[in-house]
Amino acid sequence: MINKATEIKSARIKSTQPKGSFIKAVAAVVWKDIRAELRSRELFSAMLVFSLLIILIFNFALELDIKTRQSVTAGVLWATFAFAGTLGLNRSMAIEKDRGCLDGLLLAPVDRSAIYFGKVISNLAFMLIVEVIVLPVYSVLYSINLFQPGLLLVILLGSIGYTAVGTLLSAMSVQTRTRDILLPILLFPVVIPVLLAAVKASSGFLTGAELADILLPINLLIAYDIIFIAVAFMVFDSVVEE
């Protein structure tokens, strides 16, 4: 009897070893975030409404001719994504902190970078969904075709870099009382290289620039994405531990 009980227990303990559970943990965090968001729609609706308001305000504020519109589109788009993204990043980590759930995640016997990657993937998914809705609205309001494969690639790369660094910094800022204002103050200076490269590459595609001129900012975006993800992977554990 004792042996049977011990066997069952050791089987469970064995199954809790960190080895091989990394991808499962990443998938679990993504599943949890998406499931909770589908119910509450807190994060998504805030990001979407805020994005639509920004492009509407710019539309009324900048009464531009078609040519000038093309030149400002990249800047307006990335300002919209950056501001809406900050809202999403703040909310995503606040949900973890408010009910102590971040501790619950940190108590799991997995490499803590699995939590980071899970949060990055879900934050990226929410940001991309908002962008997919914002792009056609922007196209109609500004009479510009934004559905160009090159531009979509730039938006994807820029969003990856933004959420990679934003998720790390939101994990830092959420520990403070002034988290809502601290995140943009920390995030925007760090993410400037990503935004500059993204604006330049987007602008290149919108104005029909030569591919050679667009390649440099795209390569920079790829490099920033890799650097930010690698740095966050290395330091996330220290950031979340007291």
Partner: protein, 232 residues
């Protein structure tokens, strides 16, 4: 099972723990008592690998902290005064999520067992945000023992509970301890601690100022022992 030697924890210039020595044998139920600000929660957070010690040694189930934190976490369950549960997920979904994080085998079977143990089987498909504080705390205990840990840490588990919910929690705590698990619980509630624990340690001014087993306490009551420890 737990051995702590000369543990120091500093937050900037403030020293919260000033050389704590603490030892728990397998199967013991230790109540860690002390006034507000004594460092009980900080101490438990270090045992749970949520906080790094500034100095000293912490060994849990044969593993050192912080270097073998993942192995320690696999053997630990933690219940705090916050539920560590997602309000927008159901009870079942919360447990399923944590089961995946702990890479537990036979997930559905284990979730059913745990929900039965904490008496929430009938509410398994309800969102956690619709639960009362007592129900959330019972589910939090279910979450903490989901992976069948050898050691369970309770940080002020009775905070915010009414009489009925506290009595119900007593029963769940007794069930958790009856399975031979090692339990460390911080509390302000001396009566409850006296009822549940097999040993009582008093943490005061950043050190363990007194320690007594239930047998040793028979000569005096816990309140007198506690007051004496704080005065000393």
């Amino acid at each position: 099972m737990i051995t702590v030697k000369k543990l120091v924890k500093r937050f900037g210039l403030k020293t919260v723990l000033r050389g704590v020595d603490f030892e728990v044998q397998p199967g013991e139920f230790v109540a860690l008592l002390g006034p507000n600000g004594a460092g009980k929660t900080t101490f438990l957070r270090i045992l749970a690998s949520l906080s790094r010690p500034s100095l000293g040694q912490v060994n849990i189930a044969g593993y050192q902290l912080p270097s073998q934190a993942a192995q320690v976490r696999a053997r630990l369950g933690v219940v705090s005064h916050l539920p560590l549960l997602y309000g927008d997920l159901t009870a079942e979904e919360n447990l399923r999520f944590y089961a995946r994080m702990y890479n537990i085998a036979n997930v559905e079977e284990r979730i059913a067992e745990v929900l039965e143990m904490v008496g929430l089987n009938a509410r398994r498909r309800d969102l956690v945000r619709t639960f009362s504080r007592g129900m959330q705390q019972r589910l939090a205990i279910g979450r903490a023992v989901l992976h069948d840990p050898d050691i369970v840490l309770f940080d002020e588990p009775y905070t915010g509970l009414d009489q009925d919910a506290s009595s119900m929690l007593d029963e769940v705590l007794k069930t958790v301890a009856a399975k031979g698990r090692t339990v460390v619980m911080t509390s302000h509630d001396l009566a409850r601690a006296e009822d549940l624990a097999t040993r009582f340690d008093i943490l005061s001014r950043g050190v363990i100022s007194a320690s007594a087993s239930r047998k040793e306490l028979k000569k005096t009551n816990l309140l007198a022992f506690y007051k004496q420890a704080l005065a000393g």
